[in-house]
Symmetry: C2
Subunit: 332 residues, 2 copies
Amino acid sequence: MHDVAQRAGVSQTTVSLVLNDPDNCGIPPATQQRVHQAIRDVGYRRNRLARAMRLSRTDTLGFIADDLATTPYANQMIQGAQEAAWAAGKLLLIVNTGSVDDADHRDLERAAVDQLLERQVDGIVLAAMYHRIIEPPPAMSEVRSVLLDARSSDGSMASVVPDEHQAAYDATSHLIAAGHTRIAHITTDYPAPAPPPRRAGYLAALADHGLPVDDDLLVTNLGTTGGGRLAAAELLARPAPPTAVFCYNDQVAMGVYQVAGEAGVRIPDDLAVVGIDDQALIAGQLQPALTTMRLPHHEMGQWAVNWLLDDEREAIEHTIACPLVDRDSVRS
Amino acid sequence: MHDVAQRAGVSQTTVSLVLNDPDNCGIPPATQQRVHQAIRDVGYRRNRLARAMRLSRTDTLGFIADDLATTPYANQMIQGAQEAAWAAGKLLLIVNTGSVDDADHRDLERAAVDQLLERQVDGIVLAAMYHRIIEPPPAMSEVRSVLLDARSSDGSMASVVPDEHQAAYDATSHLIAAGHTRIAHITTDYPAPAPPPRRAGYLAALADHGLPVDDDLLVTNLGTTGGGRLAAAELLARPAPPTAVFCYNDQVAMGVYQVAGEAGVRIPDDLAVVGIDDQALIAGQLQPALTTMRLPHHEMGQWAVNWLLDDEREAIEHTIACPLVDRDSVRS
């Protein structure tokens, strides 16, 4: 600091003012520039620890994620959150708590919160790798906190999730607009928050367009490629098979593609297909490329951090719409 | 702290000793347990900032990643690194510097290093999203640093990358062991460190097993599903087509599957296929499931952090072997 001041021809107090509050320090811009040049010249680095002690603010946010390894979405959520944090001069301290199915997952989650609080983070994002209802560790309430792709069981904590109903409604409407009237839906009975609103969105779109519901066209299986294969085989064997299918997710759609390929059913000519997810490695690479509803992971990550950073905003349960990614699996 | 001491019936000094150096503080285990119980009872949290100032050690490590959003591997690297850090009582401060193709990528990388150094991280991991040669920002040398899935252009910095040659050698040998003698390789001329050793590993395996090299069976295209389709079409049109193909990566293999499916070429009966990557959403979901060499992203992440944490270890360029994941695309 002494060297910086000497080189810039100012006092150490001036250097300190420029670094700590450039907008309101009253130091002329030209002098500020000289200070910054001197800082670069001497390779001076601020010690944020001292600053953090003084301001009771570390400019770091905690990001707790379950089971990073099992999902391609984690990247997008982390990237969205990190970009919003970076834009505000904050960094993310990240902890991965492993599979939610592990017996010690709750303990790890609690320990993660403790570690972050001990490091005086300014806020915490708790991210789920798929839309879930969770019970946040009580200690999270000691600091401003938000749930990402998850909601709290009692609705008390701020949260952001995809608009599942809208995604399904728009996917189905897109198929109806393409002229289809026999539209199947492959759903799953996995106990998660997403399947019911997706099914409801599908039914609402049919109803709003005056189309009848055919129970033969609503099939339940696993939300995986294997589940998609079984469901597609069932649908194609119906006396009156569908001309379009809205799939629970892109993996299910991949299974539909495989069975259609084996049966000589051409996509999109004989069967139109829409998914939900927009998993780059599936949706963009299938032949033909898959039309799907993109889950807004990047935007959700940004929203969560921006909510944390705005002290004025009250806790709300926010949803973000899923845009249609129009590729080649629906003939227009 | 006062409340903890009172509740445990010990002095504040004792509480401090138990928290800061439990193994060498000389306080009996029973007393230590009483202190920890009191801590839980009163909800006391250590202030790591004060501790960090005192010890000149923050127990945080920086993790700089380029372009998280474009790769499913980031998760595995972050998870491996985070697990190793957590096991040593450290947390990761993560920064994403965006696409390496962006004009300002170098600036962002430098700014990320500055931010981490200002926060007094104990070390830095710089992670690339695919095996690259990079020029690390000079400021990284101010703290113990390591490259993950990347090497430094001058070889001066510690690094960990996959053993590309071994992966290709073992993939090709697996096809030879299954009885194949006409084995194609789809490679790419993308300017990265991986293609040459993968091609060399393929050629070495052929040579070691006394098989001739047929230039007709070595095809160069893009390392994508589209590139795989074009390369596969070329190979299947040869006067003497191959009975097996070792693909540059899983995406290329997906393209081979698509062309084989359209041409009525059955996998693995008419054509055996091996990839490199083990991208869960591709390799495990293709029909039949793809035999591939797994890139050891999780292990590389762990290695990088463990190297950082062991001050005694000198900078080395470390490689980690890629294990064969034997699924259904090679008939044994």
